[in-house]
């Protein structure tokens, strides 16, 4: 197995998702007039910011070889926390969710790494736990924050016709990209995901790296919550239901391997856009929520199959 071979397949794989994305955009721009409007494109970008930020954080966890299923219910909980504190003070509405996210991410990562438990099972547990806490927090009620303060301005104002939070999303994505591809920590994440024992022999503290990945995942959820809260200034205990699947779907169809070790933020952004465009098209053609989930499920399975196929080809 030559290094050049791996590089070549990697480039091919990178391009394949990007090519599909471009093809979809071109195709639907030609055939669907309502798709190619500026309004629809701005709408598309608006829709991806929340899931996009969550997916970026999820990417790091997936590269370490784990999964974080708790992001959806953590989103709901932090959304409530953010709005309930924002009612008193805008700064608290920003700081408290971020601090809480660090604690939640640490707990997930600590349990997974310290006790060497399957991350899917643990975060399935924390999914239930935090959705229970979220429901309990307001007794199932929807709450709204104080409107008319600078808290809501960020979410609602525009720059050059594009909402500010779209820019924020791309800035966050670039920061994550640099973190993953240019820093020692980014390299450590990949080593841990590729071969944990080898990474440990090389002196990388894999437990710490994984735990930090989980913390970054939760903090990303908090950042997504801030975007959402600022846009809506409302919160409900069920806002985040299903977000975990959207994020995982985006990461996986972007081409980041569920087996860990490989992946990039760029791939995830392509995945997020792919998913958003597919859903957008389905919505334009009035396809119901149910069918959208069918498509998502099929996409997950196809992406997993392709991932395994490609990995096998590289190995042989």
């Amino acid at each position: 197995m030559g290094i050049k071979g791996i590089k070549f397949t990697n480039i091919l794989r990178n391009q394949s998702q990007l090519i599909i994305l471009i093809l979809l955009i071109v195709m639907f721009s030609i055939f669907t007039p309502s798709f190619r409007t500026t309004g629809n494109f701005v709408n598309l970008l608006k829709q991806i910011t929340v899931i996009g930020v969550i997916s970026c954080g999820m990417t790091l966890v997936v590269i370490t070889g784990c999964l974080d299923l708790s992001v959806g219910s953590v989103f709901s909980l932090l959304n409530l926390v953010s709005i309930s504190f924002q009612q008193r003070n805008n700064f608290l509405g920003i700081i408290i969710p971020l601090l809480l996210a660090v604690v939640i991410g640490f707990l997930n990562g600590f349990i997974v790494t310290k006790f060497k438990v399957n991350s899917i099972i643990v975060t399935l547990g924390s999914l239930s736990l935090y959705s229970g806490i979220a429901l309990l927090y307001t007794n199932g009620a929807i709450i709204s924050g104080v409107t008319g303060t600078w808290f809501g301005v960020i979410g609602r104002s525009k720059l050059l016709g594009i909402p500010i939070h779209v820019y924020i999303f791309f800035i966050i994505a670039i920061i994550y990209h640099i973190l993953l591809s240019k820093t020692t920590f980014g390299r450590q994440i990949k080593y841990v995901g590729t071969n944990t024992s080898a990474a440990e022999i090389a002196g990388i503290r894999s437990n710490r790296v994984r735990t930090i990945a989980f913390i970054i995942s939760s903090v990303s959820v908090a950042l997504a919550v801030l975007i959402y809260s600022s846009r809506m200034t409302t919160a409900s205990p069920v806002t985040g239901v299903g977000f975990e699947f959207d994020a995982i779907t985006a990461v996986v169809i972007g081409g980041t391997s569920l087996a860990g070790g490989k992946g990039s933020i760029f791939k995830t952004i392509v995945g997020v856009l792919l998913l958003a465009i597919i859903i957008n098209i389905l919505t334009l053609y009035n396809v119901t929520y149910g069918f959208q989930n069918i498509v998502k499920g099929i996409l997950i399975i196809i992406a997993i199959i392709i991932d395994v196929r490609v990995r096998k080809r590289i190995e042989s």
């Binding site: 399935l124 229970g132 429901l135 309990l136 199932g140 929520y289 989930n293 998502k296």
Partner: protein, 314 residues
């Protein structure tokens, strides 16, 4: 020697002892707990997810897992409600076969494409959830056949049908697991899949069979659940996977695979059922119940994992 045997017995049957302790505590603190009505109630509540627990126990023993059981249950329920217009039996058959087919699909994709079952069934879960929502057009659908409700209203010696079916299934599958060749193969594969292959065991076939059984049982659970009020919707089964996996692990079956029994899994679901019942009697809100369920799952996997590590270093 005798003391050690007794201690081993205590350790081995710790869940049973916990159930007993909670039972005694509850019967003292509440007059209602130890009534025939309440005990039947507990069994009826656990009977639906209990059927799935049987399949999940097989899967965990063989070293696999199925996260899509909740969606399969909803699928089975919806199919049985939709097809009952052709007769009650057709409705039941549609739900059960639908579940089995999905199970077969899970097993086939997992084994033939050599994919991790946890990821495959995650996909199936989302996919099937979509199918159910599409079939019901996101509404709660109501059955048209009035006889379908007999499924829940039929009683034998005042025991509901679902409980009887559950207990019969428990016995059948315990016998299959402990006495049949299939059962021995399940243990062998769970203990060491590669070695089993060398001994000529058809590893893939046994695995696919386990997934199919789980799908079948989840479909059946859905049919039984639909029979309660003769309605079905996509909101069925949201927390089923958490509940069922917790029950199996709580019963003392390890994620490591290769060990366990249906009776153990039954103890797990019984304990969960009694805990739920206690929380309802004590009027603890459903929100807190969900929290406790999540916390319990985390706690149980941590304990299980500590035990696995300990065994490794012995």
């Amino acid at each position: 020697m005798k003391a050690e045997k007794f201690r081993n017995f205590l350790i081995e049957q710790k869940i049973l002892l916990v159930i007993l302790a909670i039972g005694i505590f509850l019967s003292i603190s509440s007059d209602y707990f130890l009534t025939f009505e309440n005990i039947t109630n507990i069994f009826q509540t656990i009977s639906f997810e209990g059927m799935i627990v049987i399949g999940m126990a097989l899967l965990i023993i063989i070293g696999e897992i199925d996260l899509s059981v909740g969606s399969i249950m909803a699928f089975g329920a919806v199919l049985s409600v939709m097809f009952q217009s052709y007769g009650v039996f057709t409705g039941i058959l549609a739900g059960v076969i639908g579940g089995a087919v999905i199970g077969l699909m899970n097993g086939f994709i997992t084994t033939k494409l050599k994919l991790p079952s946890i990821a495959v069934t995650l996909g199936t879960m989302v996919f099937l959830n979509g199918v159910v929502f599409a079939l019901t057009k996101e509404h709660t659908i109501k059955g048209t056949n009035e006889n379908f409700i007999l499924i829940s209203q039929t009683k034998l010696f005042q025991v509901p049908l679902s409980v009887i079916v559950f207990i019969i299934l428990l016995i059948i599958f315990e016998i299959i697991l402990q006495k049949s060749i299939f059962g021995r193969h399940v243990f062998a594969i769970g203990g060491n899949a590669t070695a089993s292959k060398f001994f000529g065991i058809k590893v893939d076939t046994v695995r696919i069979l386990c997934f199919t059984i789980t799908g079948f049982l989840a479909g059946l659970a859905g049919v039984m659940l639909a029979g309660k009020l003769n309605i079905a919707s996509g909101r069925i089964g949201g927390s089923t996977a958490v509940f069922v996996i917790t029950a199996v692990l709580l019963g003392g079956i390890s994620m490591e695979g290769g060990e366990g029994s249906i009776f153990k899994a039954f103890q797990g679901i019984l304990l969960l059922g009694i805990m739920n019942n206690a929380m309802v009697i004590m009027r603890i809100s459903t929100f807190i119940q969900e929290m406790i369920r999540g916390l319990l799952l985390i706690l149980i996997v941590v304990i299980d994992s500590i035990n696995i590590q300990k065994k490794k270093y012995l």
